[in-house]
C-alpha cells in the first residue's frame, strides 16, 4: 500500500486530513527576530528526550532509600549504554531548562504574550513551574550526598514561608526530615503527577499556539512581512536544530558524564559549599545576601515573599502590559533586561562566591 493511500485510509477513519490541512496552512513570519521562534520547539524536543530516556531509566531504577543509589550505579556500570541514557537524561534536563528560559525571555521581549495570547503565556508560566518541579524532584532520585543536602536546603527554604510554609514542607518531605519517604514521594511526583499535569498543560499550550498563530514583535506589527511555510520549511529547520541537539547531548554524555558521587548519609554533616542546581542558584544566592533581619522581619521570609510577588507579577504580565504608548514598552523592556542581568549576575556570584 502506498503512503498516499494509507493517508487516505486513515483520513477516512480518523479525520487526520484536517490536522494535515492545519499544519500545511501554518506560516511563520520571517524577520530579524525569527531565530527565537525555534526555542519553543527545541524545548519541546528536549522534553520528549526526557520522557523517552526517563522511561528507559524507569526499567532499572528502584525508588527506595536503600536501593536507589545502587540501582543508578547499576545502570551506569552494568547495563549496556546505561551510562549514555543516564547522562543524556541529566544533561537534557539542564539543556531543556536553559532553552525554556530563552524561550520565555524571547516571548517576553517580543511581547508575544499580548492579546489574544494571554492564556498561552499563563500556561507557559505554569509549564515553567512544572519544569522546575521536574528538575527539583528528579535531582533527588539518585539519592547521593549532593542531592540529599540540596533537597534538605531547598525544602527548608520552602518551610520558611509564613503560615503555609510548615505544612508545605511536611507535604514535600513526607515528614519532618528528608528520608526515604521523601524519595518515594519525589519519585511519584517526577514520574506520575508532574507528567500528567504537564501533558494537559502542554497540549493546551501547543493548541493555543496553533490557534493564534505566530506573533510578531510590536515594532513589526502591521508590516507586510515575508512568511515561510511551517511545513516543510520551518519544520526542516527545526529538525536541523534537533539533530544538532542530539549530537550535543551525545557529546556531553561521552565527554562530561554526569557524576554519581557518594550515597546519601543522613548522619553525615553537609558538604561545604552546598548549593542547588544552577537554575535555582540566583534565588539561593539572593537569600544568602539578604541581611538576617529587615526592620524586625526575618530576612529570608522577606526574600521569599519578594520572589513570590515577583513571580506573580511575571505570571500576570499580559494583564499589566496593556496596549500602551511606546514609552510603556520601553519600561517593560528595561525591566526585562534588569531581570535577566540580575539572574545571570547572581548565578555567576553563586558559583564564584
Amino acid at each position: 500500500m502506498k503512503a498516499e493511500s494509507l493517508t487516505l485510509w486513515l483520513d477516512d477513519r480518523l479525520g487526520i486530513g484536517a490536522i494535515g490541512a492545519l499544519v500545511h496552512k501554518k506560516e511563520v513570519p520571517i524577520h530579524r527576530h525569527s531565530i527565537w521562534y525555534y526555542f519553543g520547539g527545541m524545548t519541546l524536543f528536549l522534553f520528549c528526550v526526557q520522557v523517552f530516556t526517563g522511561i528507559l531509566l524507569l526499567l532499572y531504577y528502584r525508588p527506595s532509600a536503600e536501593t536507589a543509589f545502587e540501582s543508578v550505579q547499576f545502570i551506569v556500570t552494568e547495563v549496556q549504554f546505561g551510562w549514555l541514557i543516564r547522562s543524556v537524561h541529566s544533561w537534557s534536563a539542564n539543556l531543556m531548562i536553559a532553552t525554556l528560559f530563552i524561550h520565555m525571555f524571547s516571548v517576553y521581549f517580543m511581547r508575544a504574550y499580548r492579546q489574544p495570547r494571554e492564556m498561552t503565556w499563563l500556561s507557559g508560566v505554569f509549564l515553567l513551574l512544572l519544569a522546575v518541579g521536574f528538575g527539583f524532584s528528579g535531582y533527588l532520585l539518585p539519592w547521593n550526598k549532593l542531592a540529599f543536602f540540596a533537597t534538605k536546603v531547598g525544602t527548608e527554604i520552602a518551610g520558611v514561608v509564613p503560615i503555609v510554609g510548615r505544612p508545605v514542607l511536611r507535604f514535600l518531605r513526607g515528614g519532618d526530615d528528608v528520608t526515604g519517604a521523601t524519595l518515594t514521594r519525589f519519585f511519584g511526583f517526577h514520574v506520575a503527577v508532574l507528567p500528567a499535569i504537564t501533558t494537559v498543560l502542554l497540549a493546551s499550550h501547543l493548541m493555543l499556539v496553533q490557534m493564534h498563530g505566530m506573533s510578531v514583535p510590536p515594532s513589526l506589527e502591521g508590516k507586510d512581512l515575508k512568511k515561510m511555510k511551517f511545513f516543510p520549511n520551518f519544520f526542516l529547520r527545526d529538525l536541523i536544530g534537533w539533530v544538532l541537539a542530539i549530537g550535543a547531548l551525545a557529546a556531553l554524555a561521552a565527554l562530561f558524564p554526569w557524576e554519581l558521587g557518594e550515597k546519601a548519609d543522613a548522619f553525615a554533616p553537609a558538604p561545604a559549599g552546598i548549593r542547588p542546581e544552577w537554575y535555582f542558584l540566583f534565588m539561593f544566592q539572593t537569600l544568602k545576601l539578604i541581611p538576617a533581619k529587615i526592620l524586625s522581619f526575618d530576612g529570608e521570609v522577606i526574600g521569599i515573599l519578594a520572589f513570590a510577588i515577583g513571580g506573580l507579577a511575571w505570571f500576570g504580565l499580559p494583564f499589566l502590559d496593556k496596549p500602551a504608548p511606546p514609552r510603556r514598552r520601553l519600561v517593560f523592556t528595561a525591566i526585562g533586561v534588569i531581570v535577566v542581568i540580575y539572574m545571570v549576575a547572581l548565578t555567576i556570584l553563586g558559583y564564584i562566591g
Partner: protein, 158 residues
Amino acid sequence: MKGEPRLETYERLGECAQCPNRETVAPGMSANSGRRRFLNYLLGTGFGATALAIFYPILKFLTPPRVIEAAQNSVTAGKLGDLALNSGKIFKFGNKPGILIRSASGELKAFSAVCTHLDCIVQYQPEKKQICAPVTTDNTTSTVKTLEVRRRVRWKSM
C-alpha cells in the same frame, strides 16, 4: 483504483497544478529531479543511519545485563550449612568487607571486617574464639566496628 487522482504520473503528492500543496517541478527544471532524488536518497540514508545510531544503544539498554540485579542493602553471605559452628567468613557488603561469625552456640553476628588500626581485613580464629587482625593478633574484638543496625545480613538456609 477508482476515484483516486492519477498520482502515479507525478513524482510527489501535490505536483498536480490544481493541488494547493505544490512542490511542483517547474517546467524546464526536470533536470533537477535527478539531483532531488539523490538528495532524498541521501537524506533517507542519513536518517536511517542516525536512527540506527540511536536505536542500537537503546536496544542494548533494554537487553538485561549479565548481572541481573543491583546490589541490595542486604547481601547473601552464604549458606548456613557452609558456616560451621565457631567459624567466621568474610563477605562483600557493597564496597566494604564484612565478617560473619557463627559462635559455638550457633549465634550469628556480622561485623565490619576492617580493623580500625591499619585497615587490615580481620580474620576469625576459632581456637581463640576471637577476631584477630594480622598486625597485632591481640584481642581486637573491641576495636572491630559493628555494622550499622539498620543493615541486616541474610543467609540462605540449606
